[in-house]
Point group: C2
Chain length 305, copies 2
């Protein structure tokens, strides 16, 4: 039994009001894998990197028991590159430059040892690539979670809809839920999106928390109010990784466990934004995570008599 994470691995140049970093490891997969690794020790990565990728990062992942057999290295090209600048509100950002490089014709090869996959996380990637990954698994995983973004709604909507139809859980942000459904009300948006195929929908609302829809129920998770958000890059990927990692740990997929998974994912995401890139996610302790989750408990707990 294992969790497969398939997604981009990038080198990012990031500017926030707190500072500027160059060629820091990013992309959806590192955030998601590291987050999942805190809950489950059989996380398996499918991704591609280029010649300029710092190999010592792979050691860090392996130290977190992340299986990198499915990590392809193309020494003839550069790694996927993204550069962005965040505004003061940290909710909006400008993409300054994107270099697809190795991602351009990425073929997601699934190693034979990965065929025990029960939990599949399709982190942000081209929908066709996500779909290929699903098809290459001989046995359909117990749970397929898919993250995506507005970019694919703009340029590959048909492929995206086809892929969405194949998954169990879709995670997108509120603007994307509105774009995908054409509905402003998130309740109406969720209804339409659940009719597109997934059994569950998670709408990520950044500093406003997240909504989980499914089983005719709604769960509203708070976000931890933070004094400083250092770098929001990867928060959504971290959330998705923590979410699927927690579910893999408990093993049973139901709404009750999903609610907790949303809280654990949110807790991991709240750590992620405290430092640039994946830095904060490299050295968390079980105690720190448990204490952070307790903050979510006291933040949202009330008792009506």
């Amino acid at each position: 039994m294992s969790v497969i994470v398939i997604g981009s691995v990038a080198l990012d140049d990031i500017e926030t009001p707190f500072g500027k970093v160059e060629k820091i490891v990013g992309g959806a997969a590192p955030f998601a894998c590291l987050a999942a690794s805190y809950f489950y020790d059989k996380v398996k990565l499918v991704a591609i990197i280029g010649a300029n990728f710092p190999k010592q990062e792979i050691d860090v992942w392996q130290h977190h028991h992340i299986n990198t057999e499915g990590l392809q290295i193309d020494e003839t090209r550069q790694s996927f590159y993204w550069s962005g600048k965040y505004h003061i509100d940290m909710n909006s950002r400008d993409t300054l430059e994107t270099g697809l490089n190795v991602l351009e014709d990425f073929d997601p090869i699934i190693p034979a040892s990965y065929q025990d996959c029960e939990f599949l996380l399709l982190a942000n990637l081209a929908p066709t690539t996500q779909q290929t990954a699903i098809k290459r698994l001989h046995k359909r995983p117990k749970l397929i979670v898919m993250d995506t973004m507005n970019f694919w709604m703009d340029i590959a909507l048909d492929d995206l809809l086809e892929t969405i139809r194949m998954v169990d859980v879709l995670t997108i942000n509120d603007a994307e839920a509105r774009q995908l459904s054409g509905e402003y009300s998130l309740v109406k948006a969720a209804k339409k999106i659940l009719n597109m195929g997934p059994k569950y929908l998670i709408i990520k609302k950044g500093e406003h928390g997240a909504l989980l829809f499914g089983d005719d129920l709604i769960f509203s998770a708070p976000a931890l109010p933070l004094a400083d958000v250092f770098d929001p890059t990867g928060a959504g990927d971290t959330f998705a990784g923590g979410f699927i990692g927690y579910l893999a740990k408990v093993g049973t997929v139901n709404f009750t466990n999903m609610k907790n998974a949303v809280i654990y994912g949110s807790a991991l995401a709240s750590f992620c934004v405290e430092k640039f890139g994946t830095e904060k996610l490299k050295n968390l302790t079980e105690e720190e995570i448990a204490a952070r989750v307790q903050q979510f408990v006291s933040l949202s707990k009330f008792e009506i008599i």
Copy 2:
């Protein structure tokens, strides 16, 4: 013992994507009084209306056991008038026209029978008028809750700060908290605002719920995800009225009771937006309110083992 609500009473012209109404009863006080009346039967109104105000509305309030002895009627002038148009997102609106009329030189006279006030709600009004009301009470109420808006930050900041210093709880929205504090992070904004005088701060975030700050604690209340928001006018006033009404009912002011008060206020606000103006608030049953509050419970409840 009683709850005093002082605030504007208006006749509104409102346009939302769902329709258009003219000269409907609005203003902060009617929403707040009606909401409070569901929890506490000694709600006392201080406000002013003009010659064109439909008197049968006063009967409705009295039917809700709202004491209107402090309601002044100026037959020589028109009622306060506001007209606004909401955009599709319902979070932003344009004020098309405002006619101060009777509000221009409103002197908040406190009837002798109101001097038993233990809970004072200063609903949105000029800060100097709010301050006068506080000073006219012979004994300081146990709890003073103040609502205000960006308009007073723009044109009467010094008066506003002076009034804020005198109250226990301030309720504003997230944009206003940022404007008042000059901080983007709501955690930092809350810290600064609590240093301005109030012991508690409630940041209203519309469809994203509300945050309660105080006693070195934070409570995050969800908003009920709604398929249709018919007319958001008065939701904040309704929240404040439900909040103080619930606290008056339980009698003891502490963080635990305040959390529940935020939930009850949010529940009442979720009804408010289902119809134009105060219509929905006129005919709620205890059962409906209890059921709505249970929706908030199941919406936000999770159990981490």
